[in-house]
Symmetry: C2
Subunit: 164 residues, 2 copies
DNA sequence: GGTAGATAGTTGCATCTGATACTATCTCGC
DNA sequence: GCGAGATAGTATCAGATGCAACTATCTACC
């Protein structure tokens, strides 16, 4: 005989929040994001969007804002504000684009590059601490599945695909 | 010989945003959350916190708000406002707690239960669509890894553990 | 039994976010 | 070249979020 808790409502839907993937994903992501955001904010005064721009510019070199938008998937308003914040602190420089008067080329300043080089080890240490105890193959699978979920969500949301 | 793009800055940090787990996690979670939030909002007028409360109350039965806080991990302010919104629509009922004048017992109304039963299949369909093509064992591992990341983030953030 | 500290929940506030609207510039077709 | 529509980026506004402060109630200790 299966035990039947007394006040349990007859939930016949088969839905359990704890096992619901979007819920698990959101809770895990929020926990990790809060941790990381606090670390960057407290020690370096960088928001997450600012940190992302810094990373992309350090990796790929100068580009304009719309390239940053497609590279990071962030909103163009978010990118604009993050770039303004970094420019105010002289961590990046925006120069006129002679070929297109609408856009500016955005590049890390030497100080920006230095800051990135300073933060990167900390960022990697956080990642290492988060995945400590996990098998590298599990981590690789995790990243692959996350990319897959992201893609599936984009498709379900009716997102325009690359090959239109 | 490895091709060397011309303008690539000397990024010797070993950090690549695309491969950085917190980034992958955040982007995937945002994509999924946006999809789900829009579905619930558009069709049923429920926010994500309201939907979570509904699920927990349908699963576990009536409880007070602080129990909802520890059950869902959401902020107590978020829970309070979500409960107020649901109460305004008569989807849940708050009754005085005779044993403790500070707290109220929160329970789904019959309409609330009915709405939950109506939404649950849609929620499960979204989950199924997101993980379609994935092996069930992969999904199980994914959920396990997400829980693990969440726990690791909590520990790193100095969170009080259950067994103090 | 009265006071100090803990707890339940709400309100206020400051911030972040994203959608929309707007300006400026570019491109294309004629 | 010139006007219609596309694109880069910014400004503006509404809603969500979470912290801190607050009220009310409870608990525990003297």
């Amino acid at each position: 005989m299966t035990a039947q808790p007394r006040t349990m409502p007859a939930d016949t839907t088969g839905l359990q929040l704890d096992a619901y993937l979007p819920y698990r994903l959101s809770v895990a992501s929020n926990a990790v994001s809060r941790l990381i955001a606090r670390a960057y904010e407290d020690r370096f005064g960088l928001s997450i969007p600012q940190w992302r721009l810094t990373c992309v510019l350090a990796e790929d070199g100068p580009m304009n804002q719309s390239a940053l938008v497609s590279r990071t998937g962030m909103d163009k308003v978010t990118v604009s504000r993050a770039a303004q914040g970094l420019a105010k602190r002289r961590l990046l420089v925006r120069s006129e684009n002679d070929l297109d008067g609408r856009s500016h080329v955005v590049a890390l300043s030497p100080e920006g590059l230095r800051l990135h080089a300073e933060i990167a080890p900390l960022a990697l240490a956080y990642e290492a601490a988060l995945i400590s105890g996990l098998d590298p193959s599990e981590v690789a699978l995790l990243k692959r599945l996350l990319l897959r979920l992201q893609g599936a969500a984009g498709v379900l949301a009716g997102e325009r695909t690359e090959a239109s």
